[in-house]
């Protein structure tokens, strides 16, 4: 089930918290205003599955993304809760199929990125910007940052084992008291190394 946006958690023995590496399939974050344009006035996202980070969820709702070459991605999952901006996160394989040229960006940094048309059951919304490939990153609590001797904004490396293993260089560190230790990679990265629940992963400075 590699293509799910959330893979089963994988762990390695490591203090103070277990290492979890999850693959995010393509998805979007929307503002409440955009949700209402797509799904109707007053509409609220309905949580379907909880994500590993506290309070985050995959919604029952999904949208259709229409690309510049009139190709579409159906069932683009919405992650909640709503944010103050709209953002679509694709793998490069998705973007090439749709005909998007998308930049590699830290989530939330969407100035001067391409937009796209979203379609929901109640209407269309033309996003003026916000289609990106998300920069791979690791969420961690300050206790984890102390353990790995890294600071917010630094880079780490993730070595992924197995018969088609690879080492991801430049994994951005994001530290916050609300974060649980979790690496987020996309489907291109997860499929390149065939990441499975039993695949060994090692996070190093």
């Amino acid at each position: 089930m590699r293509s799910l946006w959330l893979l089963p958690a994988r762990r390695t023995a490591s203090a103070p918290n277990p290492l979890v590496v999850n693959v995010s399939a393509r998805h979007c974050h929307l503002s409440q205003e955009t949700v209402e344009i797509l799904f109707g006035p007053g509409y609220k996202l309905r949580p379907w599955k909880s994500l590993y980070q506290d309070g985050q969820f995959a919604a029952h709702e999904s949208v259709t993304l229409i690309g510049p070459r009139s190709r579409v991605i159906s069932n683009l999952r919405i992650l909640g809760p709503c944010r103050s901006f709209n953002q679509v996160e694709l793998a490069y394989t998705d973007a090439i199929a749709l005909g998007f040229e998308i930049p590699l960006r830290l989530s939330g940094n969407i100035e001067a990125t391409p937009g796209g048309m979203l379609m929901g059951p109640a209407g269309f919304f033309e996003m003026p910007k916000g289609v990106i490939r998300a920069l791979r990153h690791v969420h961690m609590h300050p206790d984890d940052a102390d353990f790995y001797a890294v600071k917010n904004g630094e880079d780490m490396r993730l070595k992924i084992g197995g018969p088609c293993g690879l080492t991801l260089e430049k994994l951005l560190v994001r530290v916050d008291k609300s974060f649980k230790l979790e690496v987020h990679i996309d489907t291109d990265e997860g499929n390149a190394c065939n990441l499975q629940p039993e695949t060994p992963c090692e996070l190093t400075k």
Copy 2:
């Protein structure tokens, strides 16, 4: 143009031959018998573009691959010349989209692999086996093998730079007098690191 099965060649300064890293998008190799079933009696593949390895080409012809969930991949490029067996090489992202569970195999090693239905303009052909993800590998001449101090069947590593760089571990070495130095990776691997013509690549033992 990352999605082309053949990216522009990239080179680094290295004796005795330049290092070329190419991304193979999904494609198939067919026997002459299968070509005739799909395209008609006596049909010959028509070379469209030469590949980097001498004598190999992408054909004008493509087929439709029909997966177990009745999803299809259209325009699956045929590479020539014909071989003695039929083989479809997909990235894991392709296989997941189609509903295939495919193994990682060295090209040509297709015992106990899944099959699939191919459709051409003149007919269908039910491949009993041969759908794989190809093991990443590097072709090299014996002179290159001497330079890198490796032997046929050993593993090397390829470090790919850039803002989403990675190091591919376990790159299989294939040595033959007819080979030119060339790494073959698939679209998951190429897109995971956004391999571009200017991306620096380093092959090490």
